[in-house]
Subunit: 421 residues, 2 copies
């Protein structure tokens, strides 16, 4: 069974609003084992809506629509649905009472527009909206032009995210599950750091070629991170799960050195969990990352349990005066060097009294590069209660990406040390 | 002229990745006076891609595609394009050299997959990718089945946002402008900080009602900032420009106290320009913002000219030991207080030898709030060469938004002081 999602609204097509409705709907449907075949995003235009309805009916047994059923003039989805199904509007007493009671709770007055909203196509099942005035509409009809024997389901919902979401959760998904008994589906995402997409692909190529047909692999790259998503389908939930987990295990063995977590993990959250459990503390001494590592760490609620603070030593004066880096070290080796980043880490560990310190010094660019140390050159040091170690990296030539890649690389170096990897 | 955007990728259809590419592309096209007719989002499936290409060609003169041209097996857009246009792949020396030089800059080795990526359809114009290995492809062909006399343009780009964005900006949009000469369009964006969307709307309502029909206003809210974009259209560029500028001037008079810049300005860039001209220096002493202000400041290339460094004093120990905040001050007034944030600012000014310091202490949440100081309570102090002043704010209950709003508010307090506003 295929599902198409249609989102209607001019604001989507000018890019003013990012379409989060489609991805939310798809995510929920996927969790129940449904597969979404296509998203179609169109404007508030009668011709476009009718064309999209027709094409969707030819492709999919279920068409889920959001947007265009509000009270204003530009909302024409309901009229288009009537035209598409040859249906006409009937005043719905129950829908009107819902609006009246919602408005009286909020202290508003019902207007003529709201009376109009309570008019619904005669041949649909209306779906209550516990967060707004526009009811959903469920059509289940044989559409000869769709070239299909059985019925096609069209569901129209509001475009306001939390109104649509409540309707999907309360009504639409349970009804779809009742009718279609979807197969089992299971996703597992392996998160890697420190390796590019094409290198990963060449390392895991043989394993990938031997994947069973029921399991699909997707590469999801972000700056500094590549996520590998395994998706399995089948009839039995436990079997699908075990097939995917077995493949994930095999994959994990091949690229273990690059893996830092699974699914919704983040490096900063993983590190936080470990440090909280160990009752140990963390700080940073940052030059080129300019506070971005501290920002990532403190984006985690409750990070004050283990994060004490940082010194952002952009200027060499700060490296020397606060972190105690020796002027001679900077003079002899340069600010971007193993020696300086090591002294930064030890200095922060001492002056901030912390168990672990991440220290970074590099050339983020676009300026500041030399032949010996081009833009992207970055030294990272980790100070632990037992040792200090450092490593050099050469990232790219884009400032924002260099900052991000250096931060993720540094967090992963700390994580590896914490887990003894 | 109509444009359709097709985004290809299974990860979009399961909702794991929100489709920001379509809205970004639509926004840029709109800025140049182009109208996007439809977004179509499909999976990495040959049949689906071919069907979507066919339908898009029937609807639109220009089809912009992102996704599915990476080096991995699930990327099949290039093969589908070859099939659609009856074209075959030819090894492209120039494309291969680009990959080689990108990889040698990064110290990587070219793999067989990269050689494969340098094979491009013989009848397309290839578009350089300055941020990655997959070239874009520009097809301009008569498609009989599209039912149109002239040629249809198909452009295939990578799905990685910053690769696609550079290609759109450098090549695709300029080429479209050359071919289609969209009407004159002029945008002016007024940037405000410290006032919400609905308050703005009530203050500027009368002015908005009197806007000429050729000028449209859009509210573009972000956490802490509301951008007001005026877009004028017409035949003559100079006339359109002067009509919009006149309205922007009127608007600026009404809300002058909230405006910090126009168009692509950012608080951190404005502050940087002023400090560089004055040859003065800046640093931060951050508690709840956790380095985010330093990160914003150092995201500006060349910020090392005026930014010296920061102390992130999450823990009170760090406030006392590095910044010299008196333990009694914390005990008496609490860490989130005018007194503490003032001592933080002065302490940083002294220990980091800086002209200006931004200091912030607050409760970002979700934990840590009390009846007297609920989550969102934030004190900001600015130390200048002449004085220190502080102010209290109450933001909301969302951690990420509180961090962002505090950072922008603090930067704007400094900017106002620097410009004597």
């Amino acid at each position: 069974m295929n599902i198409e999602i249609i989102n209607i609204g001019d604001e989507l097509l000018i890019g003013q609003v990012v379409n989060t409705n489609a991805s939310w709907m798809a995510r929920q449907l996927n969790l129940e084992g449904f597969k979404v075949h296509q998203f179609t995003i169109i404007g508030d235009s009668r011709e476009q809506i009718l064309e999209a309805f027709q094409e969707a009916a030819e492709r999919c047994e279920v068409v889920l629509i959001s947007g265009g059923i509000g009270p204003t003039k530009d909302d024409i989805t309901k009229a288009a649905l009537c035209e598409f199904f040859g249906s006409s509007l009937v005043f719905n007493e129950e829908a009107y009472k819902d609006v009246e009671s919602l408005f009286s709770r909020r202290g508003y007055k019902v207007t003529g527009l709201n009376r109009q909203q309570a008019c619904l196509p005669e041949d649909c099942t209306s779906i209550p909206n516990r967060n707004g005035t526009a009811r959903g509409m469920w059509f289940e009809k044989h559409i000869p032009a769709a070239g299909r024997q059985g019925k096609t389901i069209f569901v129209s919902m509001p475009g306001v995210p939390f109104e649509m979401q409540a309707m999907m959760t309360d009504y639409v998904i349970p009804e779809l599950v009742k009718r279609f008994h979807p197969g089992a589906i299971y996703h597992k995402t392996i998160l890697t750091q420190g390796i590019g997409e094409s290198f990963l692909a060449s390392i895991i190529g043989e394993w990938e070629n031997n994947l069973p047909p029921s399991v699909k692999l997707a590469y999801l790259p972000q700056p500094g991170i590549v996520r590998l998503r395994l998706s399995g389908t089948g009839d039995d939930k436990a079997t699908v799960r075990s097939v995917v987990e077995k493949q994930a295990e095999q994959l994990s063995e091949i690229i273990s050195e690059y893996i830092f977590g699974t699914d919704d993990d983040s490096l900063e959250a993983i590190i936080g969990k470990i440090l909280r459990a160990k009752k140990q503390t963390l700080g940073t001494a940052e030059s080129c990352t300019g506070g971005y590592i501290a920002h990532l760490i403190t984006s985690i609620p409750g990070s004050s349990d283990y994060f004490k603070g940082s010194v952002i030593a952009y200027d060499n004066d700060v490296k020397e005066q606060i972190l105690g880096v020796m002027p001679e070290t900077i003079l002899k080796f340069g600010a971007v060097s193993s020696e300086v980043v090591t002294e930064m880490a030890i200095g922060a560990q001492t002056c901030l009294s912390m168990d672990y310190v991440i220290a970074v010094s590099g050339i983020a660019g676009p300026g500041g590069g030399t032949n010996e140390k081009p833009v992207g050159t970055t030294w990272i040091a980790i100070a632990t209660p037992d040792e200090v170690f450092s490593k050099q990296f050469l990232f790219g030539d884009n400032r924002d990406r260099n900052i991000r890649r250096a931060a993720l690389q540094a967090l992963n170096m700390l994580r590896k040390n914490l887990v003894g990897q």
